[in-house]
C-alpha cells in the first residue's frame, strides 16, 4: 500500500516538475505571439495582455517597413547553407585524410587543428575585420561565408566518425581495384558517413544561423544583413514598438521551430551525438 502511495507521490512530483519546466520553456514563445498580435499601446497595459490580439498583419507590416525582413532571412539562409555544405565537404575530406591516409606529419598537423579549437574567435576579430576590408568584402556575404568554412571541430569530429565507421579493409580493397583516394572518399566514405553529415550539418547550420558578433561587425549594409543583425535593428527605433519588435522576432523564429518539430528526433540525436562523441 505504502509502496503504491510512494510511487504515486513520485509520479505527481515528477509530472509537476516536468509540466512547470515545459510551460516555462514554452511560455516565451506564446508570449512572443501575444505581443506580435497586439498594438503597441496595449502592451503598456497593467496587468499585461495575455491573449492574442488582432494586429498580426499590421505589426508584421511595420517590421517590413523597418527592416528588409525577407532579404535578411534569405541572406541567413544563403550563408548558413553555403557554410554548412562547404564545411561538410571540407571537414569530411580532411577527416578522411586524417583517419585513413598516412602521410608525414599527420599527427602533428591533427594536434595543431585540435589546438586551434582553443583559440577564442574574438582574438583575431579586429584584424580579420581589416582583412575583410582590404578584400573589399565588407557588407558582402563572402565576409561571413569564407571564414566560416574553417571548422576545426568538424574535422576532429569527422575523423573520429570515419575512423570508427569505415573499415580499413574496404579501403584496401578499393585500392586494389585501383581507386584513387578521392574516388574512395566519394564512393565509399561518403555513403557510409551520411548520418554524420546530417549530425554535423545540423550543428553547423544552427551555429551559423544564430551567429551574431561577426555578421554584426562586417555586414553593415542593411540589405546584406543576416536576420540576427537585422532583428537587433528593430530595437533601434526612436519610439519603441514592442508589437513590431516581437513580431519580427516571432516570424524569424517560426521557420526554425517548424523545421525542428518536423525533424525533432534527428535534431536531438544530432545535438547529443555532437556533444557526446567529443
Amino acid at each position: 500500500m505504502s509502496e503504491k502511495r510512494k510511487t504515486l507521490m513520485a509520479k505527481i512530483s515528477l509530472y509537476t516538475l516536468l509540466t512547470v519546466v515545459a510551460l516555462a520553456s514554452l511560455f516565451p514563445f506564446y508570449w512572443m505571439f501575444v505581443m506580435a498580435t497586439n498594438p503597441n499601446n496595449m502592451i503598456n497595459q497593467t496587468p499585461p495582455v495575455m491573449v492574442p490580439g488582432s494586429e498580426l498583419v499590421a505589426n508584421f507590416q511595420n517590421v517590413l517597413d523597418s527592416i528588409p525582413f525577407f532579404q535578411a532571412m534569405l541572406n541567413s539562409l544563403i550563408v548558413a547553407t553555403t557554410i554548412t555544405g562547404g564545411v561538410l565537404i571540407l571537414t569530411s575530406l580532411a577527416g578522411f585524410a586524417f583517419a585513413k591516409l598516412h602521410f608525414p606529419g599527420r599527427t602533428v598537423l591533427f594536434i595543431f587543428i585540435l589546438g586551434t579549437m582553443m583559440i577564442p574567435p574574438q582574438l583575431g576579430l579586429i584584424p580579420t575585420y581589416f582583412i575583410i576590408t582590404e578584400l573589399g568584402w565588407l557588407s558582402d556575404l563572402r565576409a561571413v561565408i569564407v571564414p566560416g568554412l574553417m571548422n576545426a571541430f568538424g574535422i576532429f569530429w569527422m575523423r573520429q566518425y570515419i575512423s570508427s565507421s569505415v573499415p580499413d579493409e574496404i579501403i584496401e580493397a578499393a585500392r586494389m581495384d585501383g581507386c584513387s583516394n578521392f574516388r574512395i572518399y566519394w564512393n565509399i566514405v561518403v555513403p557510409v558517413i551520411l548520418p554524420a553529415f546530417a549530425t554535423l550539418g545540423i550543428i553547423v547550420f544552427m551555429a551559423i544561423w544564430g551567429d551574431y558578433l561577426w555578421p554584426l561587425v562586417v555586414l553593415q549594409d542593411q540589405s546584406m544583413q543576416t536576420i540576427q543583425v537585422a532583428l537587433r535593428a528593430l530595437m533601434d527605433d526612436r519610439v519603441r514598438d514592442y508589437g513590431m519588435i516581437l513580431s519580427g522576432t516571432f516570424w524569424a523564429t517560426v521557420p526554425l521551430v517548424v523545421v525542428f518539430l518536423l525533424f525533432n528526433r534527428l535534431f536531438i540525436k544530432s545535438i547529443t551525438d555532437g556533444a557526446v562523441k567529443s
Partner: protein, 324 residues
C-alpha cells in the same frame, strides 16, 4: 580533386598486378601523401588567412595606438596599462564571471534533475516533454535576448515587474540595476541552454546500464541515493563536457548584454567581449581593443586549464564510465 595518377585503372591482367605490387606500394604512399595534404589543405589555407595572420596582427596592434584613420603610434605596453587600470575592464571581467556562474551553475543542476525526471520509468509522454524543454535551444540567442529584454522591461507594466507587483514588490529597473541586469542576462542564458544540457545528460543517463540501478535497488537505495551514487558518477564525462562548454561560452557572452543594454552596454552588464567590441567598433580604439582580446585569450586559457585540472583529478580519483 583526384590525385594525379588516380584515374581508375581498368583491371589489368593478373601478371601485371603482381609485378606492380611493390611499385604500387611506393606510389600509393606518394599518392596518399599528395591527397592527404590536398584534402587537409583548405583548412590550413583558411587558417593562414583568417586564423594565424589576424592573431599575430592582434598581438602587434596591441602595442599601438590607432583609430583606424590616422597613423599608428607605437605605445609599448601602454594599452595593457590602460585596461588594467580601467575599473570598467575589471567590472566587465567580474560581470562575465558572475553572469556565467548565475546562468550556468544553477542551470546545470536543474538540467541534471530534469534529465533524471525525464529518464524515470514513471513518466509517460517523455517525447513531448523532451520536445518542449529543448525548444528554446532552437531560438537564436538574439531572439532570446530580444524577447527577454521585453519581458524584463523597466516599465511597471513589464511582464516581470507586473508579476512582482502582485506580491507588492516595487518595479525594478532591470537594465540599470546591478543585480537586475545580471539576473535578466543570466535568465536568458538559463532559459536557452537548459534544454540542451538536459538532453545531453539524458543521453548520458540512457547509456548507463540498467543493472546498476537494479543492483542499487536491491541494496535498498532510495531514489536520491540512486541519483547520487549511480547516476552522477556515471555521468562524469558528460558533466565535464557541459561544464567545459558552459565555461567557454560564458566567457564569450556578448549578444545578451549588447541587445539588453544597448550597443555600448552599461557597467552593470558589460562583459569582456562587449568591452572589447565597444572599444573597437564603437570608439575606434583599436589598440586597447586588441590588448583586451589578448587578455581575454589568456583568461580563457586559464579557465580551460583549471577545468582540465579538475576534470583530470576527477577522472583519476574515480572510475568513470566512458561515453559512447
Amino acid at each position: 580533386m583526384s590525385s594525379p595518377k588516380g584515374a581508375v585503372s581498368e583491371n589489368g591482367p593478373l601478371e601485371q598486378k603482381k609485378q606492380g605490387v611493390k611499385e604500387r606500394k611506393i606510389s600509393q604512399r606518394i599518392r596518399n601523401m599528395v591527397s592527404g595534404y590536398l584534402f587537409i589543405s583548405p583548412f590550413y589555407l583558411l587558417f593562414a588567412v583568417f586564423g594565424i595572420f589576424p592573431i599575430l596582427f592582434s598581438f602587434y596592434l596591441a602595442f599601438f595606438r590607432w583609430d583606424g584613420l590616422t597613423e599608428m603610434e607605437f605605445v609599448g605596453l601602454n594599452n595593457f596599462n590602460i585596461i588594467f587600470n580601467d575599473p570598467l575592464f575589471w567590472k566587465s571581467l567580474y560581470n562575465t564571471i558572475v553572469i556565467g556562474l548565475m546562468g550556468t551553475a544553477p542551470q546545470l543542476i536543474a538540467a541534471l534533475i530534469l534529465a533524471f525526471a525525464l529518464n524515470s520509468v514513471l513518466v509517460k509522454y517523455k517525447g513531448l516533454f523532451r520536445l518542449a524543454v529543448f525548444l528554446p535551444y532552437v531560438t537564436s540567442i538574439v531572439a532570446v535576448a530580444i524577447v527577454f529584454s521585453v519581458i524584463f522591461s523597466n516599465q511597471e507594466s513589464g511582464l516581470v515587474n507586473s508579476f512582482l507587483g502582485l506580491f507588492g514588490i516595487d518595479p525594478i529597473t532591470w537594465t540599470r540595476s546591478e543585480w537586475g541586469a545580471k539576473f535578466a542576462i543570466s535568465a536568458m542564458i538559463f532559459w536557452r541552454w537548459l534544454g540542451y544540457n538536459t538532453i545531453i545528460y539524458l543521453a548520458g543517463m540512457q547509456s548507463i546500464p540498467n543493472d546498476l540501478y537494479e543492483a542499487a535497488k536491491i541494496d535498498g537505495a532510495s531514489l536520491r541515493q540512486q541519483l547520487w551514487y549511480v547516476t552522477i558518477p556515471m555521468l562524469k564525462p558528460f558533466i565535464i563536457f557541459t561544464v567545459f562548454t558552459g565555461t567557454i561560452g560564458a566567457l564569450q557572452v556578448f549578444a545578451e548584454p549588447h541587445i539588453f543594454q544597448g550597443r555600448a552596454g552599461r557597467e552593470e552588464g558589460i562583459t569582456v567581449v562587449l568591452y572589447l567590441y565597444r572599444d573597437a567598433f564603437v570608439s575606434n580604439f583599436f589598440g586597447t581593443a586588441s590588448a583586451t582580446a589578448i587578455v581575454l585569450f589568456f583568461i580563457i586559457i586559464i579557465f580551460s586549464v583549471i577545468n582540465m585540472y579538475f576534470a583530470n583529478r576527477i577522472g583519476q580519483s574515480k572510475k568513470v564510465g566512458t561515453g559512447k
